[in-house]
């Protein structure tokens, strides 16, 4: 695109807020009661985060990968693509995240969590809980109907935030897994901001918090490696 600097974010907004949120309404109605299953999956992930079972990394990775695949196919490709021609690229990104999660978390079993007192881990679990429990309430609190609720595991924003929470809670940072949720959070925040949604900053702020926690953990990890090296 030439003269790209003359374009503003609003030039890329192809739809009205009314149609954007109606999409969730129609999607929720079509997949009901899958939202209950998704929330149960989220509760299971949170339970595993708190538990000390040895296979929890693999189980969490498998459930998150399934959620990313579902959201990419059922929401982005089947629904969002009808009003946004870029949605197929977003869906490819969600599929890539599912593949990466499967590779790192299931096949290589690298998604580990530290048991016991760990401030960064606690912050990550709080971010996850926020995505699972608080995020669905934000739309209704902002004045949108319950039928347009965005639920973890079936809607992209809470799925991305929850994943960032899990990654922040992991005992070591996994930068390759962080990239796509962070990119999505930026895109989603920009979309909502252009639509002048009152909750536009929620997703970017949650993502920024997860990034800070991951960065903090990376520093701690590097310091520990340096100590062990000396």
């Amino acid at each position: 695109m030439s003269e790209w600097w003359t374009y503003s974010l609003s030039d890329f907004l192809l739809f009205s807020p009314r149609i954007y949120y109606r999409l969730f309404e129609l999607y929720n109605a079509a997949i009901w009661p899958l939202q209950i299953l998704a929330l149960a999956l989220g509760a299971a992930i949170f339970g595993l985060l708190l538990s000390g079972v040895i296979w929890r990394g693999r189980a969490i990775a498998a459930m998150l990968a399934a959620c990313w695949l579902w959201v990419g196919w059922a929401y982005l490709l089947q629904r969002y693509d009808t009003i946004n021609w870029a949605a197929s690229y977003f869906a490819a990104g969600f599929a890539a995240e599912a593949m990466l999660m499967s590779w790192i978390g299931i096949i290589r079993d690298r998604l580990g969590f530290r048991s016991g007192a760990d401030a960064a881990g606690a912050a990550g679990r709080c971010i996850f809980l926020f995505a699972l429990v608080v995020f669905p309430l934000i739309g209704p609190l902002a004045g949108r109907p319950w039928t347009q609720v965005e639920v973890f595991g079936v809607a992209p924003d809470p799925t991305a935030i929850a994943t960032l929470g899990v990654l922040a809670a992991a005992h070591r940072p996994h930068w390759p897994l962080l990239v796509i949720p962070l990119v999505w959070s930026t895109i989603s925040g920009a979309t909502l901001w252009t639509m002048q949604s009152p909750d536009a900053m929620v997703v970017p702020m949650a993502a920024a918090l997860a990034l800070v926690v991951a960065g903090w953990k990376a520093l701690a990890w590097a310091r520990q490696a340096s100590r062990e090296g000396t």
Binding site: T6, F15, I19, L26, T82
Partner: protein, 309 residues
């Protein structure tokens, strides 16, 4: 886009001179008993109502059947008011499919003047995209095809010229918006055979008055005006103020008609294409295609008034 603060002397004189040119003088046709103002397409003399219907954002409603039916009702009101030109693009999400749905619901009104665009790179993929667009609309051929935002324009114009020669499209053109690439637009207007050029023009964004609109008249190119309300921003801004009493002198009952009458009273303009999701708004918009239009002095007054608000 650069905003000009005052009506330039040159454009004012140009408009005054143009007002006396018979060939571009508004021509009334009848719609439901009231004369609707039309303008001839310079390359053929075929007339079009001066207000059309855009579809950017407003018709991108996906598979939402309730929203699709609402769009069909907007189209019904548009045709009932004597409207003809509907404009879309492959860039506008599901808008083309929604227009096709609406045309189907309305039993394919013969009055429709189908205006679409080609927007793909490389240009070799243009013919395939145009055929997909035609199927979405459900029309045997487009009345007008335009190169959207000059993307791969050389290749696309070659394709469009060949299609026009083969009778697969009636008119061809180029588009830009919000003041982008005006020098290139001018160059293409000077060197290529075009029926239409589509640009942004409204009471505050008047850059095209200086060169593009006079050039369109000189070269016999029709002008379609997009973003007449700056995507609703102008209407929202004006709505905070009362319509001046003197707007009645040009038969304006609301701000939409005030803003549209300013645009379509420029002698180089063939048609403005406001977009809306509401039946009452499309009726308001079509009201601008009736009764008196402002002359040059009234246009200057309109600019001065809006710039003060």
């Amino acid at each position: 886009m650069r905003k000009r603060e005052h009506l330039s002397r040159r454009s004012l004189l140009g408009a005054l001179a143009a007002a006396g040119t018979a060939v571009l003088r508004p021509r009334p046709a009848l719609s439901q008993g009231r004369a609707i103002i039309t303008r001839p397409i310079p390359s053929t003399g075929e007339t079009l109502p001066v207000v059309g219907l855009g579809s950017w954002i407003t018709f991108n409603v996906g598979d939402d059947i309730i929203a699709r039916d609402a769009c069909a009702e907007v189209m019904r009101a548009f045709f009932a008011a004597g409207g003809r030109m509907i404009d879309s693009s492959p860039m506008y999400g599901s808008s083309q499919k929604v227009i096709g749905y609406g045309l189907g619901r309305l039993d394919r009104p013969p009055a429709v003047f189908s205006a679409d665009k080609v927007w793909i790179s490389p240009g070799s993929r243009g013919a395939g995209q145009i055929e997909a667009s035609r199927r979405y609309w459900g029309v045997p051929r487009f009345d007008l095809l335009q190169v959207h935002n000059l993307l791969s324009w050389e290749e696309h114009l070659r394709t469009l010229r060949a299609m026009k020669a083969a009778g697969q499209v009636r008119y061809i053109g180029i588009t830009t918006s919000e003041g982008r690439r005006h020098r290139e637009v001018e160059q293409i207007m000077r060197t290529q055979p075009l029926d239409f050029v589509q640009v942004t023009y409204n009471v505050l964004d008047r850059e095209v008055e200086d060169r593009i609109l006079p050039l369109a008249r000189e070269r016999g190119i029709g002008v379609i005006v997009n973003r007449p309300f700056r995507e609703g921003e102008l209407i929202r801004r004006m709505a905070r103020h009362p319509l001046p009493a003197w707007a009645a002198e040009i038969d304006c009952a609301n701000w939409a008609q005030f803003l549209l009458k300013f645009i379509v009273s420029h002698p180089a303009v063939t048609c403005a294409i406001p977009a809306t999701t509401r039946v009452d708004h499309v009726r308001e918009n079509m009201g601008a295609a009736h009764d008196r239009l402002p002359d040059a002095s009234m246009r200057a007054r309109m600019v001065a008034h809006v710039e003060k608000l």
